[in-house]
């Protein structure tokens, strides 16, 4: 088990290397001079040239890459070109909002998606099933920015039940934090809930068709126990996979959602960083996100082993 863990972690190294190279090169392809954003549009050419030298932009690309990756390996993600803050500090500052958003979305997925999926599967081919699966498709088919705009319009502007924007750290004002996170979390969570619902329904139906369910029925077990213990537990294994795969998707959703709700999270950090060509911040933030996603995949595999005794590492 420990050996497996270490081996999987070791396998991350080539993947992360690929990620770093792709990320670095891709970002260097971005057109536009980063000094414009830093010095303002009326800065002189000489000032901009001097700043470029300061930022090391006049050295060869491989050199810049080595400098960056060398820093990363020693735990130094560099400094923001724009604000000169340490990138690591910026990321630490931005993580809570995104993590909270993701956690609430996942919580919604578990608390709503799984029970709804079970209900749909148990009531297969009834109006309940149709309604739930229909809602699922609807949620999957609504772009996040559209949903977010509608939610703001209805709840913040028309009904005025929640503030339309702003972020308060949970540690400072839990209630204020939560009330502001409701709409973003619903936005981000909508897809995850739908995906979990659909997967739960699908794999529960599949599990209910297995031989061991017939065996359990033949021993006279109650339907309720058969569904919740004998079928659901087996059905959860693919649900866990799919939910874990959603972590990456969740990050995409937060990019859009944080932008609309102006939440200071990783999504806005990355997008604004790309737009303002603050490449050290983008590199650092994406690297953190990617590493996180990869670690989640690893944890998922460990969760399998916990859910399914047949799997040993």
């Amino acid at each position: 088990m420990i050996g497996y863990l270490v081996r999987r972690l070791a396998q991350l190294i080539p993947v992360l290397f690929v990620v770093s190279v792709v990320l670095f090169l891709l970002l260097r392809l971005l057109p536009g001079d980063p000094t414009t954003e830093i010095l303002g549009q009326e800065a002189s050419a000489a000032d901009r040239a001097a700043l470029r030298a300061d930022l090391g932009l006049d050295t060869p690309l491989w050199r810049q890459f080595l400098d960056w990756i060398g820093g990363v390996l020693t735990g130094d993600l560099g400094r923001s070109w724009l604000t000169d803050e340490p990138v690591a500090g910026v990321i630490v500052d931005r993580l809570p909002a995104t993590v909270e958003l993701g956690l609430i979305a996942l919580l919604l997925a578990v608390l709503i998606g799984i029970p709804a999926g079970v209900l749909a599967a148990v009531r297969r081919r009834t109006a309940t099933d149709s309604a739930l699966t229909g809602l699922g498709v609807l949620a999957l088919s609504t772009p996040h920015f559209y949903l977010a705009a509608l939610l703001i319009l209805v709840f913040a502007i028309w009904l005025r039940v929640v503030p339309p924007s702003g972020y308060v750290p949970f540690t400072e004002d839990p209630a204020g934090n939560l009330v502001r996170m409701v709409l973003p979390a619903i936005t981000v969570g909508s897809t995850v809930v739908a995906v979990v619902l659909r997967q739960t329904r699908g794999s529960l139906l599949a599990a209910l068709g297995e031989d061991y369910i017939r065996t359990a029925e033949a021993t006279g077990l109650r339907r309720r126990r058969i569904v919740t213990v004998y079928a659901l537990r087996n059905a959860l294994v693919p649900v866990v996979t799919v939910t874990a795969l959603q972590i990456g998707a969740l990050m995409s959703a937060t990019v859009v959602t944080e932008t609309i709700f102006t939440l200071p999270g990783m999504g806005t950090l990355i997008v604004n960083g790309i737009f303002s060509r603050d490449l050290p911040v983008v590199q650092g933030a994406v690297l953190v996100v990617v590493t996180f996603v990869l670690l989640v995949n690893l944890v998922t595999d460990l969760v399998y082993a916990w859910l399914d005794p047949r799997i040993t590492y």
Partner: protein, 291 residues
């Protein structure tokens, strides 16, 4: 070859029949057909969708403009019809490109195995760990905004997904006895891949392509929302919704109708995927859509 044609028809008929009997497909296919017809027929409308009229801004639905006008006084209906072309391009060209490339990579990785597989799959793992939108965003930002580059970006993002699904499928297919039989009798590898593996991927690929189409449309819409998608004056539904959300309270119809178009199309692809999956009778967890 006469036998070939009879077979393909024969082989697909049950799937097609089952598909046509499916409630979801009965909804999805007409919607998608409408989108396709709109995309193909839009040039017939001429420049109706481009004609601005600053005296008629943000009007609601009327006899003259069935779905109202936008912030530049253009006819929303004409623009939705025009925008169908973009959506169709995303769903066909970008997803098609990813399908071809991804299938190729997945076939090679899955069938050959060894270091090629390891190299390809590590790369795929890395690419998949990128949040889809961030990757697409960066690619578009690097290449420059526009339809062509958005298509490339979406294809880049979707290719590893296809590669992974195909590889998984190939790994299980290659142990099938009919594949072994073909190998034993000396069917050359390319022919073996083409004749014995590819046709069996059709179901999986069909379902996955439909799901990826919906993902791709959302991605294009999101790119457009962030301003990096299709560039004006070419209308795209995503950009129209984005523009419409700026005028939500001045004109509800502006974002609602293109939003509905996008929602219906994505829903159609999702439902088609569901119907296809049932028609092919494949319950596979890794086919659930991801963004």
């Amino acid at each position: 070859m006469a036998t070939e044609t009879t077979t393909t028809r024969d082989a697909r008929r049950p799937v097609l029949t089952r598909l046509l009997r499916d409630r979801r497909a009965r909804f999805a296919l007409p919607v998608l057909a409408t989108v396709a017809v709109a995309a193909v027929a839009s040039p017939l409308l001429g420049d109706r969708s481009a004609a601005t009229d600053t005296d008629r801004l943000l009007t609601g639905p009327s006899a003259r403009h069935l779905l109202g006008t936008d912030e530049l006084g253009r006819d929303v209906l004409a623009r939705i019809v025009d925008g169908a072309a973009v959506t169709l391009a995303v769903a066909t060209v970008a997803v098609g490109l990813a399908l071809v490339l991804g299938t190729l990579l997945g076939l090679v990785a899955g069938y050959r195995g060894g270091w090629i597989d390891a190299l390809l799959m590590r790369t795929v793992d890395g690419l998949l760990a990128f949040p889809l939108l961030v990757l697409a965003l960066t690619v578009v930002a690097a290449l420059g905004p526009g339809l062509r580059n958005a298509l490339i970006a979406i294809a880049v993002v979707a290719t590893p997904r296809f590669a992974r699904v195909v590889r998984g499928e190939v790994l299980s297919l290659r142990t099938r006895e009919w594949v072994s039989a073909a190998h034993i009798v000396g069917v050359p590898t390319p022919a073996l891949l083409r004749r014995h593996l590819l046709p069996h991927l059709a179901g999986t690929l069909g379902v996955f392509a439909a799901l990826q189409a919906s993902t791709a449309i959302i991605a294009e819409a999101s790119l457009s929302f962030l301003g990096l998608g299709v560039q004006p004056p070419q209308p795209s539904w995503g950009a129209m919704v984005a523009a419409g959300t700026d005028h939500l309270d001045a004109s509800w119809s502006l974002s609602v109708f293109p939003g509905l178009a996008i929602l219906l199309t994505i829903a159609a692809f999702n439902l088609l995927a569901d119907a296809l999956r049932d028609a092919f009778d494949a319950h596979r967890p890794d086919l659930t859509p991801g963004r």
